[in-house]
């Protein structure tokens, strides 16, 4: 947001390409689409019970589980996503377009279908799960299943923002380093990674935020048991059955946690 605002001002100051005013109208409408629902949540939070609600055992257990699983998912996203983005942006492998579409898949799949798909692969009767089950390994109903579901839905966010960063950065420095005799591994670690660090950071934050909010794939693939698989979104979904206002309080907690994490990691560095 701030980054974009600054660009606008800079553009205006240079007397060059200032934005036409009318752009502000749809932009403001779009913003309203985000702000109004947030006001809706705020209007329903039972403030008198707020502290008690968000410090209840069920809410805290769910929050801790969410933070733990989303952190592990983010680490997995970085470990798997950085190489994927490198291959997509620099790999010059045949079929890159197809690969990119495959990476986009979790973004267009309804999360519930994502969960079912994971079940069909890793469930007791799944393509791989059936064999694993014979070996005594069952993923369903475990915290690992939550992490897998979250990684599945978050990975595209990291890969896509990183690929964007890689394409924007170009490979001039890498070429120079290579002509000076640096080996590919050294170029990657000393040049590429530092260059794309801001993009990596913002991709990781996006992935974390997506993992934190993940619900559909989790409930379908992992289930819902307090302390094991019931993340904060699952707890909110359940809470609304009996006490929608309490669900609003827990939703606000989720929003606040996500905002705090995003601000803490990105800070004043405008990386997107």
């Amino acid at each position: 947001m701030t980054a974009r605002a600054r660009t606008v001002r800079r553009g205006g100051g240079a007397g060059g390409s200032a934005l036409p005013r009318w752009v502000l109208v749809p932009a403001a409408l779009g913003l309203l689409l985000f702000v109004l629902p947030l006001l809706g949540i705020l209007s329903r939070v039972p403030w008198a019970r707020f502290a008690a609600l968000i410090t209840s055992e069920s809410a805290l257990t769910a929050l801790l589980l969410s933070l733990r699983t989303a952190s592990v998912s983010t680490v997995l996203c970085v470990l798997l996503g950085v190489p994927m983005a490198l291959v997509l942006a620099r790999g010059h492998v045949p079929g890159t377009r197809v690969l990119r579409s495959v990476v986009l898949l979790p973004l267009v799949l309804p999360p519930v279908v994502g969960g079912l798909a994971l079940l069909w692969v890793l469930g007791r009767r799944g393509l791989i799960g059936a064999t694993l089950s014979v070996l005594g390994v069952e993923v369903g109903f475990t915290t690992a299943a939550v992490v897998l579901a979250q990684t599945f839905v978050s990975l595209p966010f990291l890969v896509l923002s990183l690929e964007g960063a890689l394409l924007t950065a170009g490979d001039r420095y890498e070429s120079v380093a290579a002509t000076l005799g640096a080996r590919p591994g050294r170029v990657l670690v000393r040049i590429t990674v530092p260059l794309i660090a801001p993009g990596l950071l913002s991709g990781a934050v996006l992935a974390f935020a997506r993992a934190l909010g993940e619900f559909g794939a989790t409930i379908t693939f992992a289930g819902s048991l307090q302390g094991v698989t019931r993340t904060l979104p699952s707890a909110i979904y359940l809470q609304r059955e009996t006490d929608p206002d309490a669900a609003a309080a827990m939703s606000l907690l989720l929003v606040v946690v996500a905002v705090v994490v995003v601000v803490a990691v990105r800070g004043r560095r405008s990386v997107l």
């Binding site: 079940l119 469930g123 009767r125 109903f141 379908t220 992992a222 819902s224 059955e241």
Partner: protein, 259 residues
């Protein structure tokens, strides 16, 4: 160039979406000429099959009437009605959810009980874990999935546990019967506690195991015409239809009990 095309495409899509949204009701309005009336029924998700059939039969018996059905979890429906959703009739899967609606004076007249439902054990086809009764669910190594206590089927599960003295250690407490059934049909769980009607509805996808302790928790379904019904008489007629002989037959075929 490509960017502009994209923006144009988005704009067209948006217009189409908005246009569609406005078209819907107005088109319905023109087709529902003077004689046509629409009855909106909010019914518990477990009534999907039966109420779809009853809606069709009601339309056949009342020319010019169109029955619009909205199925969801009872508490979601109760919340929607409380928020002013336009509904004429509400059929709930339990009495406490109906009580929320009557408590806000949103029903016209007393709700009428029209069906009952009890729990049954659902296992994957062929019952691979060899479950024969409720006590088997507490056997170590048996993966049992139940509804969370916050939802009616979970409350019923707790009641049966207390009455039978058998304590379950489920691997998951799901937010709805559908989720429990999903875990059973996929073979992820060895057994799940759902309603008799769900087992019948699932057909060959599950094997049902009835158990006598289920009588400790009989779920009663009430139906009521709503205070804000657009056509109070028609809403009452639908309630009478559901609670009358035609309704009873359809409900019994689906496995529901008589209150």
């Amino acid at each position: 160039m490509r960017g502009r095309a994209l923006v144009a495409g988005l704009a067209v899509a948006l217009l189409a979406a908005c246009g569609g949204g406005e078209d819907g009701p107005s088109a319905a309005g023109t087709s529902s000429a003077p004689a046509e009336r629409t009855l909106t029924v909010f019914a518990a998700a477990s009534l999907t099959a039966t109420f779809t059939q009853l809606g069709t039969e009601f339309e056949a018996a009342h020319p010019g009437v169109r029955v619009r059905l909205n199925f969801a979890g009872s508490s979601d429906l109760a919340t929607q009605i409380g928020e002013g959703a336009p509904a004429d009739v509400f059929a709930s899967a339990n009495e406490s959810t109906m009580a929320k609606v009557t408590g806000q004076s949103l029903t016209a007249g007393e709700p009428v009980d029209f069906a009952t439902n009890v729990l049954e054990i659902a296992t994957p086809p062929g019952n691979p874990a060899g479950i024969t009764g409720f006590a088997d669910l507490a056997r170590p190594g048996v993966k049992v999935v139940v509804c969370a206590p916050q939802v009616p089927c979970g409350a019923a599960t707790e009641t049966v546990e207390e009455a039978s003295g058998v304590t379950l250690s489920p691997v998951s407490e799901e937010p709805s019967v559908t989720d429990v059934l999903g875990k059973v049909t996929s073979g992820e769980a060895d057994a799940g506690l759902v309603y008799v009607t769900d087992v019948r509805d699932a057909g060959d996808a599950v094997t049902g195991v009835e158990f006598p302790e289920s009588s400790a928790a009989v779920n009663t379904y009430p139906v009521a015409a709503l205070e804000d019904a657009t056509d109070a008489g028609l809403a009452e007629e639908f309630v009478d239809f559901v609670t009358g002989p035609d309704g009873r037959e359809v409900l019994q075929d689906a496995g529901f009990g008589t209150p």
